[in-house]
Amino acid sequence: MFLTLLHQHFVQMSLVAAAVAAVVSGTLSPLVIARGQAFSVHGIAELGLTGAAGGLLAGIDAPSGALIGSASVGALLGFLGLRDRDRDAATGVVLAAGLGLGGLFLSRLHAYATTGFGLLFGSISSVSDHEVILLCSVAGAVLVVLAICWRPLWFASVDPAAAEARGVPVRTLGVAFPILLGAAVAEVIQVTGVLLILTLVVTPAAAATRLSARPRTVVLTSVSLALLASAGGVLCSLQWTSPPPSFFVAMISFGGYVIARIVGDSMRARRRG
C-alpha cells in the first residue's frame, strides 16, 4: 500500500515540493543563525498567512498571496530594522498587526476551517502541479541570488563593520536578505505551515552548528537534515494519515537537533580531554 502510493502523481508532487523547499530553507538556515534572525523568520511566515488568506479572498491562489505577503514584509523589515536592537521590536510590531489582518481575511473565507488549518500546519499532501512549478521557480531564483551574493552576505552577517569598510554593501544586503527570506518562507509554509516554519528554517542550522563551524559543512549538514525532515515527514504521513505531515517534519527535525547536540557535545568533550 505504501509502495503503490509512491507511484501516485500527487505523492510525487508533494515529495518534489518538500525536497525543493528543504534545499532552500536548509541553505538559508545557517545565514539566519549567523544573523540572529530567527524571530524575523517567524514574523515573515505569519505575514505569509495574511498574504495567503488575502490572496484567496482577492481571487488569486494562496501560494502567490503568501509570496507577496512574506516578501513584502521581508522588505519592510529590512528597511525598518536596519540595526539589531530595533529589529526585534519592529518585527514584533509588524507581526502582530499583520496577523490581526490575517484573522480578518480568514474569517471572511467560506472554507474557514480547512483553509486556516492548511495555512497554519501546511498543505503539502494536496499541493497542485501549478504550485509545484511556482515553488520550483521561486526556489531557483532564491538559490541563484544566494549563489551570487554568498560571500558578501556571509561577510556582512559575520562582521558587518569590517565588511562595510571593505566596500561590501552591508545596508543593501540587509534589505535584500529578508526579501530572499520572505520568498523562501512563502514556499516552505506549504510544507510546514506558518506555525512550524522554524522547524525547517532554524532547526537544521542550529543542529549543524553543534557539529561543525566550517561554513560548507554547516550548509551541507543543514540541507541534509532539512531534506530528511521534509521528505521524511511526507513519507511518514503516507503511513500514518491522521496527524498533518508537518507534525512528522517537526519531530524528525527536532530529533536531528537532539542527536546533533549529544554528538556535538561528546565531540567537544573528546577534543578537550
Binding site: P152, W154, D159, V168, A205, A206, A213
Partner: protein, 269 residues
C-alpha cells in the same frame, strides 16, 4: 606624495555638532599613531574620515594622495571589538578568508593564492593554534587577533584599528599591540590606533594625537603627555604621572582610564 594620509584644516562632526576643527595631520609610512581622548571626542570619527565613510565638515582628507574612498584595499580596518555569538557558524580561518575575498560577488571558489595569503596572515598574528576552532568559542584576545589577521590579508599600507584592546586583559592588550607593531616593522604599514589607554602600546607609539573638548594636541608621547600640555588642552588642571613604564592621567573630566581597567577575557575553549 609619499604620505600615507594627510588632513588639512579638517573639521569633523555630525550635522550641527562639531567634534573638532582645524586639524592638520600627516601620517607617514611605518608610523605608529595613537589617537587618545575620552568618549565622544571624535576618535572614531577620525577613522571614519580616513575610511571614506564620512565626509569632513571642512578641509581636505587625502589617503594615498586621493580623497578617501570606501573599500580601498590599501587600507585595513579593525573594527571595535564585539564578541561573536557562540553558535556563529564560522572558524577563524573563514573569518580571515572573508577579509580576503568576502567583498567579491559571484560563485567562485577561493583561489590558492588567496588561501596562502590567509595562512600567512594567520601566522603573522600568531593565531595558528586556534584558526580552525569556531570563533564564538575563542577568547576576546584570540578573536581580536583573528580580526586583525582579516584586516591585514592584503598587506595594507595603512592599518586603522578602533579600540582594538578594549575588553582584553592587560597581557592580551600588550600582545595585540605588539602584533600591530610587527606589521609596521615587517611590511612598513602605518598604524593608527584609537584607544582609551596608551599604556599597552606605549613602547611602540611614535606620535600621539590627543583629542579633548573640541581641541587637539599632536606630538611624541613625551611631548603631549605632560601636565602642562594637557592642562592647556583641557583648560583645567591635569596631572600626568609616570609610574615605572606606565603613564597615568589624573583629573581629565572625560575619565581617561589608566592601566587598571580590567575587563573579562570571555569565552575560553
Amino acid at each position: 606624495m609619499s604620505d600615507v594620509a594627510r588632513l588639512d584644516g579638517v573639521a569633523a562632526g555630525y550635522g550641527n555638532r562639531v567634534l573638532w576643527r582645524d586639524l592638520d595631520l600627516t601620517i607617514t609610512p611605518g608610523e605608529y599613531l595613537a589617537v587618545l581622548g575620552g568618549n565622544g571626542t571624535g576618535k572614531t570619527t577620525l577613522l571614519k574620515l580616513l575610511l571614506g565613510a564620512l565626509r569632513p565638515l571642512a578641509g581636505q582628507v587625502a589617503v594615498f594622495g586621493e580623497s578617501a574612498k570606501r573599500g580601498d584595499r590599501r587600507v585595513g580596518y579593525v573594527p571595535q571589538h564585539q564578541a561573536f555569538d557562540r553558535d556563529m557558524p564560522v572558524r577563524g580561518i573563514d573569518l580571515v578568508g572573508l577579509g580576503a575575498s568576502g567583498h567579491r560577488f559571484g560563485p567562485r571558489r577561493m583561489p590558492k593564492s588567496v588561501a596562502s595569503r590567509v595562512a600567512a596572515s594567520i601566522s603573522a598574528v600568531g593565531a595558528g593554534d586556534y584558526a580552525t576552532a569556531p570563533v564564538g568559542l575563542l577568547s576576546g584576545g584570540e578573536q581580536q587577533r583573528l580580526r586583525i589577521a582579516g584586516a591585514i590579508v592584503d598587506d595594507p599600507a595603512l592599518i586603522l584599528a578602533d579600540e582594538p584592546l578594549s575588553s582584553l586583559d592587560f597581557s592580551s592588550q600588550r600582545q595585540v599591540a605588539d602584533v600591530l607593531d610587527g606589521r609596521r616593522r615587517e611590511v612598513g604599514s602605518a598604524v593608527v590606533v584609537v584607544t582609551h589607554d596608551i599604556n599597552p602600546m606605549l613602547r611602540h607609539v611614535d606620535r600621539v594625537l590627543y583629542l579633548a573638548a573640541g581641541k587637539w594636541a599632536c606630538g611624541t608621547p613625551e611631548e603631549v603627555l605632560t601636565s602642562e600640555r594637557l592642562t592647556a588642552l583641557y583648560g583645567i588642571e591635569i596631572d600626568v604621572v609616570r609610574v615605572r613604564d606606565h603613564v597615568v592621567i589624573v583629573g581629565a573630566p572625560d575619565e581617561l582610564t589608566g592601566p587598571h581597567h580590567h575587563a573579562d577575557e570571555g569565552g575560553g575553549h
